[in-house]
Subunit: 425 residues, 2 copies
């Protein structure tokens, strides 16, 4: 095998011919697979579909005198708030249980920040000259898009092995136009990084110039280990309080990758004052969220310990897929020396950096052979990766055999794009 970066032009030309025929052969197989998003597989969904059997008799509907089928309880059933407090290690009164989508809760927070302002805002953000938002990258395209949608200037903060570059963050928040930061603190999307304790403390201790600077703490993968035991994680809300920043963080989570994507329950967690503020704002748009689904989830998931047990059903299905990705990358790409990737123990993604200037081309080659992956650039603000290098691999959806074929093709495309670049093809 060749380290492409150390070889002669002639050797590379020979390799190029070989890889090109390999690619053409794979193309002939007529693959048709879309792994653009972090979707659970059918087997994962089958493994938790017994959740639909927990609601039956009339007794299931009366929870402490509240009929879960009727209107009421905007902030969620007490038992649902207790469930999320257990999961996130915060207090029930610090939680607000929403509908099926935590993304929608995040959107609503940013949307209301624009139209009405946050709790500590001097004015609605739409009345500010400029709003800037910190986007640790590679990161989650849907996060970035929410703030872009409202006209915020997105500022890329590089991710390190321990989380966002905190030296830079501490510097950037001195600008009063910087109003917030996106974060996926555990098994970050796409890098699979767990923020270090030091990073988390430095975030909680930030001294931003904007009084309404807000960390959107998307704890999307809070119990989503697929390899090894549950990794305890600090409660950001009490940490922020400890540093005099009690309203600075808003945490989010959902059961989208515990039970059903788009069919679960979500939560917003923050200071009691923020919960009161958002409860007032959200009362204009909602009478109450789906309490039938709340009680269904609480009955099924019970508590944190039981949820962690249940997550093993997902882990046993997910782990072989990540192993497949890593094995084939090790076999087919590693020896060529031009790409690096992470080996996460939780979350839904492998983040790969290929040769600069070749990510788009590699994914174009994939697409022409029938494999759709997350678009290159998607992990950066505005969908533009300045190095055209980062690729998010989402292995969860297809069965292992299909994933193997997809990875063979993907690696071939990476190699081919790198060779084209080196040979100026």
């Amino acid at each position: 095998m060749l380290d492409y970066l150390k070889k002669s032009c002639a050797e590379l030309e020979e390799e190029y011919s070989k890889i090109l025929s390999e690619y053409n052969a794979l193309k002939m197989q007529g693959m048709k697979l879309n792994i653009a998003r972090g979707k659970p597989s059918k087997k994962q969904l089958d493994a938790v579909s017994d959740i639909l059997d927990v609601m039956h008799t009339d007794d299931d509907f009366d929870i402490d005198g509240i009929d879960v089928r009727n209107y009421g309880e905007l902030a969620g059933l007490a038992c649902a708030r207790e469930y999320w407090a257990d999961i996130l290690d915060c207090k029930p009164e610090q939680t607000f249980v929403g509908g099926t989508s935590s993304l929608n809760l995040m959107f609503d927070v940013i949307s209301r920040a624009y139209t009405h302002g946050l709790l500590n805002s001097e004015r609605p953000w739409c009345k500010e000259e400029v709003i800037k938002f910190l986007c640790p990258s590679p990161g989650y395209d849907r996060h970035f898009r929410v703030t872009e949608f409202f006209g915020a200037e997105l500022i890329t903060v590089p991710m390190t092995a321990t989380g966002p570059d905190m030296d830079l963050v501490e510097e950037l928040v001195k600008d009063p136009c910087v109003k917030g930061m996106w974060s996926i603190p555990k098994y970050s999307n796409p890098e699979g990084i767990i923020y270090s304790d030091e990073t988390i403390r430095r975030i909680a201790a930030l001294k931003p110039a904007a009084p309404d600077f807000t960390v959107l703490w998307d704890n999307a993968y809070c119990v989503h280990e697929f390899d090894g035991d549950y990794v305890p994680f600090p409660d950001i809300i009490s940490l922020c309080e400890e540093y005099g920043n009690k309203d600075m963080v808003i945490e989010f989570a959902s059961t989208s990758k515990i039970t059903f994507p788009g069919g679960g329950i979500s939560v917003l967690a923050s200071s009691v004052e923020n919960i009161a503020y958002f409860s007032k704002l959200f009362a204009v748009q909602m009478i109450s969220y789906d309490k039938v689904n709340q009680i269904r989830h609480v009955r099924y998931l019970k508590n944190k310990a039981h949820t962690i047990e249940l997550m093993k059903r997902h882990a046993v299905l997910l782990k072989p897929k990540f192993q497949t990705v890593l094995r084939i990358l090790d076999e087919k790409v590693k020896p060529h020396g031009f790409a690096q990737w992470n080996s996460p123990k939780g979350g839904y993604f492998v983040s790969l950096n290929t040769m600069n200037g070749t990510a788009k081309r590699a994914l174009q080659l994939c697409s022409e052979a029938g494999l759709v992956m997350t678009p290159a650039g998607a992990t950066f603000p505005y969908g533009i990766d300045p190095n055209d290098s980062n690729i998010r691999i989402a292995p969860s959806l297809p069965p292992v055999e299909e994933l193997e074929a997809a990875m063979e093709l993907f690696c071939t495309c990476l190699n081919l794009a790198a060779l084209e670049k080196l040979l100026n093809k």
Copy 2:
């Protein structure tokens, strides 16, 4: 019995003493009942709880190759769009199936109008000097509050027996600041009026000055007859198209009062162009709504004919309650000649106009005796009824016996407040 308006002061004083002791006696009974909102009763919810039994085997999850438990299909499952098109008599491609709350869809439409503009907006509404919104009144407080929340000037349009005063509406829409109108066209909240065909045609034919003038057509009670057969109702979307106003109307409905309040499915229906526009906007906040609940509802409700059949389960429980309200009003208030009310055949409310300047006082008396009703004024913009006369009665929640006691108390309070007013007490 006395017609209060035709009696002498002495007669009224005597009546006042009688009614006051009646009130004090009722107060002693220690009622504790809240009928402020149009909540279905426990029996109604029990009558449709078999909806929770329709999703079981794995086969239930694969709908034309789409796994309803996974992400995808932002505008809703094809079968859910067909269901709503059948209910509303429009086309499936004119529908967008949302989450549990049609109010939230309405809020999102107005919120996006403010931050980004509607399809035919020249600019986002937040960039306009003034936005005005027409509010047929008495109307629905939650509607009015959505537009008030975004700073719109609310303009009261009187309701007539055939719908909003269309002479006035046609005049008002000549003002380019008038951007829209709220409407509940069938069994309006609270009046229970069905807009006449002429009113509906005049709405569809409006020639508003604002290019983005929008009728929010909340068909909340589209199949909600409790007395008599289903009343057919014209499709406003094709009517608007007929008059060259294809993007002017956005229709809403939900199953909140068909299955579970806050646990059902909702719909937004409009021109195909509007559906495309909102699908693009809503994609920023949502990956997809709850398709498990969509298929659950489609399996259970099947189609319009079956839904109308099922609504009879609600009707048989609701009709006696409305009869109770009307009977007791007839007995205890009608002879006194100072109040008028509607006798609806569908919807959730009886709208009553009591003696001017006494609605607040009457409801204060109710509240002091343990009965909470919709606050006086709630049916008008900004919660201010200029006549302090309109009261919304929501009889659906309590069992008939409790409702009887509540109505006895309510009538006593109406009479007492009227007597206080006449006697300057």
